[in-house]
Symmetry: C2
Subunit: 342 residues, 2 copies
């Protein structure tokens, strides 16, 4: 079933597959029921505050896209469900640990449309429960006894943290280049998508070619996903992105739409952007003004063009695999992820 989505901001009509994620949910439902059980079990602890906080975040309506990608990647190769389920839950824990720490680092008030965990339990508990989830993630990986896959995820954990530090060190840095930005989103976001798909393929018994295809698929999907996210931060409505529009701007995050606008804009426009960047108190009116500059120089559109390129690369990566319904579905998921921003 195709739907038609009309974006208020771009006024473009696009035929898309709004149901791709729903179909992925359906296709992975049996495995995801096991993953969800494992997640609940492993978020438990005799220390009360741990499951309280962990479950608040875990149950907060995230789509669980990453673990779905892990079990779907395994299913593409027809097997390895036991390990795939452990890896899927581990990937989701790594993701949630990162969210907890990111919200502390970014002083974020909201996450997925609700108060961030740190607003309820504090920064301290958010840091420590993040550490707990990371430890539990590694325990689940160890249980598979698959050292190679463990190596993939351990490297991802280090690279993700490195990416976050890079982003932090570039905060408000007007000399940040598009290349710097590419390195940041590669490390902080794309790496986990890449690893989620790669270890899924490994658990499914993929050979060298299949493993590489899924690794590339995940990487490119992750890059596309973050580019779209960074556009939505300026184009999205608060109720769809689950946080405040313009948060990246207020946090001084040098994302591609801003980097390109600083390069293309007039002196006056540059000054406006520079003044707002990192100003936690920047008003909604200021954000609207900045969005006008970004739209005028089409930097949001250019960013989406890059997202589309990555999405195309993701879909292309799957083409070495035999055609199947699941392969087509994964391609649709990529297309849907990009369509979110129109």
């Amino acid at each position: 079933m195709n739907g038609v989505v009309v974006s208020v901001l771009t006024q473009k009509k696009l035929e898309i597959e709004p149901s791709a994620i729903d179909r992925l949910l359906e296709s992975t439902a049996l495995d995801m029921a096991k993953v969800n059980d494992l997640i609940l079990t492993r978020a438990d602890s005799h220390v009360e505050m741990v499951p309280e906080l962990a479950r608040y975040l875990i149950d907060s309506g995230g789509k669980r896209l990453r673990p779905m990608l892990t079990v779907a990647s395994a299913a593409l190769f027809g097997g390895g469900h036991g390990s795939a389920i452990n890896f899927a839950a581990a990937v989701e824990f790594m993701h949630n640990a990162t969210l907890l720490h990111d919200d502390v680092v970014d002083d974020s008030d909201m996450r997925r449309g609700r108060p961030a965990a740190r607003m309820i339990w504090g920064n301290q508990a958010s840091v420590l429960v993040g550490d707990f989830l990371l430890g539990q993630a590694f325990m689940m990986m160890v249980e598979t006894r698959d050292v190679d896959a463990l190596g993939v995820l351990a490297a991802a954990a280090a690279a993700m943290a490195e990416g976050e530090v890079l982003q932090l060190s570039k905060t408000g840095d007007l000399s940040t280049t598009a290349q710097d930005y590419a390195a940041v989103i590669r490390a902080k976001t794309a790496t986990l998508f890449e690893s989620a798909c790669e270890v899924g393929a490994m658990a499914g018994g993929a050979g060298k070619i299949g493993r590489h295809a899924l690794k590339t698929f995940g990487l490119e999907l992750g890059n596309a996903f973050q580019l779209v996210d960074d556009v939505l931060d300026y184009r999205g409505a608060a109720d769809t992105i689950g946080k405040n529009r313009g948060d990246d701007l207020r946090e001084g995050k040098m994302t591609l739409p801003v980097i390109l606008a600083l390069a293309d804009g007039s002196k006056a426009e540059q000054d406006l952007i520079t003044a707002a960047l990192g100003d936690a108190e920047a008003s909604d009116a200021t954000v609207v003004q900045i969005v006008e500059i970004l739209e005028r120089h089409e930097t949001l559109t250019q960013t989406l063009d890059q997202a589309r390129d990555h999405a195309d690369a993701a879909v292309a990566a799957l083409e070495v695999l035999p055609t199947s319904e699941l392969r087509d579905l994964l391609a649709d998921v990529v297309r849907f992820s990009v369509s979110r921003a129109y």
Copy 2:
């Protein structure tokens, strides 16, 4: 060479082995040179802030007791140096990651007699570089391909975080029991000593009995170590403990000396302690007053008695092993650790 240490506070003379740590340093020097090289290599990153911050902490004059225990534990069984060195460096990274996060959680200004990393690079970078070190730790473990030892350290990572959350949830909680406290120090401190020794023994090729002996040795040494630390927080001079005397009190930490004093003290004494607990601005004069209460009820001495019991258990655990110079040295290290507080 025996030395005589006279504590200003207890006025007890004790014949101790002040050189036990020095002798351990000497005994493990060859392995530790490799561990230190590995630590420097793995603290590196193309993201500048990472090695800057990591090295500031790593080079700050910590004794590297935990990794020394790992290589010494391996050496007791005569081998496995390659893995032991990776595990030792991984253990030190886990420890340093915990310190970075703890200083954020505790709002600590000082660490090892210098400004805490967060005072220079900020809380945000401290959280993220801690995450990076944890990721690197797991990568070094994975390289050994020893899944069982990996499982030991992954479980330790989760348990340590759990212990920190437990401690946080008991902060300023006057109903905290001695049992709660035992659970906290077991998890947050003793677990890493336990794992450091256990994986060392595993890497050295220990059998079941040897592995269990070192596991128990590490656990009991860790418990003793933390009990002594908690006494030193009240008895130590700032220049020997590397932080301010009374910090635990100001942070509202329910350590055993305070828990016992709240149980034994008069109403007036209880009120004094209660008022000072968690008061970040409590004066040095107030700390002196609280120390007088603790000394009056001998709760510092009782805490040290418990430390000595754990130290005895640590030494006893080694007795199943054949006598050797290294075994005796490890026993001396335990005795020295407890003697720090007299």
